[in-house]
């Protein structure tokens, strides 16, 4: 009895949160150049794009779907932003248009998945290539870098001399919204139900398709917001912006304990996973760990994060079984 309570208390997402805390404390104490405001702002700034997409991705994965086209959507938004800027359009018009484009990209994914009943993995692998291709057609091999200084400063600057990038408060607002939606609304709870058993959820009266369409659309929107942020943060709109970002997001979400079978996970875990990977990367760079070794470390961590919870569950199950066997065996022995 106490065993299973312990197992329930030591959930994987709390483990990841604790790991993040330990890593931060150790780095503050022992890593040169880690604890100052400038470095912390670098850390947060370079992790924000992953964190931003991780929000809707967590909801999607909880409901048993996935979107691999997010990085391409981000790249496409950046490319369109650059092309329109070159064409002389005002940035205040370009940004809403790009967000709209993200909505359309997300809608296309959502409609293909919900209307045609195709698996989201296949659909979004396809649109991943398609959106990236369109981005290349739109902008070619051009790099647009001359966005207005105010916007660049917002995306890359920090508030005063503190460690807080300007972009962090808006992200925190989005995070709060996502947490509320997933963990405190009927919509959020129904996502867990859909992820756990879609058929049962449908019979329970949950409008599965509509929920999923909303999720894909929101993912597209945030992916294009990420693309805009990326282009401004790095002062560079190129068709290949954010290449491979989808893998970082998926990795971080996985590390945060979101089960890819659907139906299980928390946003806290996902965000802890995102920042654990980000901080680890920052620390390893400061310690002169080569890029290749960093990839190996990240990979091992991911395998462990998939194995960890499963192993824990299996051990717990084995213990309960043994306890039950012992309980039933005892009377015979006496």
């Amino acid at each position: 009895m106490t065993d299973s309570a312990l197992v329930r208390a030591v959930r994987w997402d709390t483990v990841v949160g604790a790991l993040l805390l330990v890593l931060l404390l150790l780095s503050f104490a022992f890593v040169d150049g880690f604890g100052n405001a400038l470095n912390l702002s670098f850390l947060i700034g370079s992790t924000l794009p992953v964190a931003l997409i991780a929000l809707p991705m967590t909801l999607l994965v909880v409901s048993g779907e996935i979107d691999l086209s997010v990085a391409s959507t981000a790249g496409l938004s950046g490319a369109v932003m650059g092309a329109l800027w070159n064409a002389g359009m005002a940035i205040e018009t370009i940004i809403p248009l790009c967000l709209l484009l993200g909505v359309v990209c997300g809608l296309v994914n959502g409609l293909l998945v919900t209307r045609l009943g195709l698996p989201s993995l296949a659909v979004t692998i396809g649109t991943m290539a398609a959106y990236r291709g369109i981005a290349q057609i739109v902008l070619g091999s051009d790099a647009v870098t001359d966005f207005p200084g105010r916007y660049l400063d917002f995306a890359a600057g920090r508030i005063g001399g503190s460690f807080v990038p300007y972009a962090l408060p808006p992200f925190l607002v989005l995070l709060a919204v996502a947490v509320l939606v997933l963990h405190a609304t009927p919509f959020g709870r129904s996502l867990f139900a859909i992820g756990a058993n879609e058929e049962a959820a449908r019979f329970a009266g949950i409008r599965v398709k509509r929920h999923k369409l909303w999720l894909f659309t929101a993912t597209g929107l945030l992916a294009s917001a990420t693309g805009i942020f990326w282009a401004l943060h790095y002062a560079s709109a190129r068709y290949d912006n954010a290449t491979g970002l989808e893998l970082s997001v998926v990795a971080a979400v996985l590390l945060g304990g979101i089960s890819f079978d659907g139906g299980r996970g928390t946003l806290g875990g996902a965000v802890a996973g995102v920042f654990l990977l980000g901080a680890l990367q920052n620390v390893m760079s400061l310690l002169n760990v080569s890029a290749q070794s960093q990839i190996v470390v990240t990979g091992i961590l991911l395998v462990a994060s998939v194995l960890g919870p499963r192993l824990a569950r299996r051990i717990a199950a084995a213990r309960t079984a043994r306890a039950v066997r012992a309980a039933t065996a005892l009377p015979h022995a006496s």
Partner: protein, 361 residues
């Protein structure tokens, strides 16, 4: 057609469209209304002292576009050797992919944290590194760009592999000599938008206007997008469309290699002359089998060495990045800073059958 599930999405879409259109009507910040705030933003007020002693014990980090790329490995080795001779230390960091701009930015940030004395960087993108490099300069780090520049305000000096003009003109001169200044020629470039390629091609066209080239005619420019397969096909196309083609200039290492590969396997081998910019390792077999007489490139090892010398000269206060300042770069000689802090490595090296085996990169 709109199902219940679609209706809210459509409403949101419509709202966003009208919002965007409303904003257009209000005007706003456009490309035209933004002045180039980078131009000359980095005005150093320090005074250069060419006789200041050369500092020792500095740390200079090389940040190439891509680590484990043979070209940059040779360039950075040149930098390492020069730093060793100067009594300073060298390190190299960089991304695995030549288009990972965010990776390059985080390396600049890391080096800023590590308080190195100088960064020698080959920028993947002229704007992307700016914020990070300015941050580094604010923290007292000297920034040298080599091989590929950033916007002028984001570094102290740029070590250029060779003047664009020298490179452009010398390729035409090289081909002219091989052809006896007679016949139709074509250019096989990289991407249609590549700035450096287009600058070189501009100088090539200007060189061709000289009376000496009156019997040489540029018939077309093809684009292989720095893709081996596309460049190969473009070469094939050029020769089919222009049966009287006598020579090809390919000012890109990928293009010239692909063109050489096509020529060496075709009936045009030894008849159609090929020159341009290539690396000795890529081109060795085509020079030896008679497909190519001579081609050129700067020596990347010297480029790296000059970047190292420039970095140490900046840290020692011998130069500050202004036009007309001079500094000693060991066995490479004395260099003078040009406009916008550009330092030219000098004329490119021509590789042919006689000297190609002396170069390994």
């Amino acid at each position: 057609m709109p199902t219940p599930a679609l209706r809210p999405a459509c409403a949101a879409l419509a709202a966003a469209v009208s919002l965007a259109l409303a904003l257009t009507a209000c005007g706003g910040t456009t490309k035209k209304s933004v002045a180039d705030d980078d131009a000359g933003a980095h005005a150093s007020h320090a005074k250069a002292d060419p006789h200041a002693p050369t500092k020792k014990g500095l740390t200079v980090a090389f940040l190439p576009k891509q680590v484990n790329n043979p070209y940059f490995t040779v360039a950075d080795k040149g930098g390492e050797q020069a730093l060793k001779q100067l009594g300073s230390s060298y390190k190299e960091v960089g991304p695995n992919s030549a288009t990972d701009t965010s990776g390059q930015v985080s390396y600049v940030n890391t080096l800023t944290q590590q308080q190195v004395d100088g960064i020698a960087v080959s920028a993947q993108d002229p704007g992307a590194l700016c914020t990070a490099l300015k941050q580094a300069m604010k923290n007292g780090i000297k920034v040298v760009t080599y091989d590929s520049d950033t916007n002028t305000g984001c570094r102290d000096v740029f070590v250029s592999q060779a003047g664009a003009e020298a490179l452009g003109r010398s390729q035409v001169q090289l081909l002219g000599r091989q052809l006896g200044y007679k016949g139709e020629i074509a250019i096989l470039s990289a991407a249609q938008t590549a700035t450096n390629q287009n600058t070189w091609i501009g100088f090539m066209k200007d060189e061709l206007k000289k009376p000496r080239y009156k019997d040489m005619k540029l018939v077309t420019t093809a684009y292989g997008n720095d893709d081996a397969q596309q460049s190969f096909q473009q070469t094939q196309g050029l020769l089919q469309e222009h049966p009287r083609l006598a020579g090809i200039i390919s000012p890109t290492t990928v293009g010239i290699k692909a063109a050489a590969q096509y020529l060496s396997g075709s009936k045009y081998k030894g008849k159609v002359r090929l020159t341009g910019l290539g690396t000795p390792d890529d081109m060795r077999r085509y020079v030896k089998n008679g497909t190519v007489d001579a081609f050129e490139l700067w020596d990347p090892a010297k480029l790296g060495a000059l970047a190292a010398h420039a970095s140490v000269a900046l840290s020692s206060g011998q130069i500050t990045g202004r036009r007309g300042e001079t500094f000693e770069a060991g066995s490479l000689g004395t260099f003078t800073l040009g406009d916008k802090g550009v330092i030219d490595l000098g004329a490119p090296t021509v590789f042919d059958r006689d000297n190609i085996d002396r170069y390994r990169f």
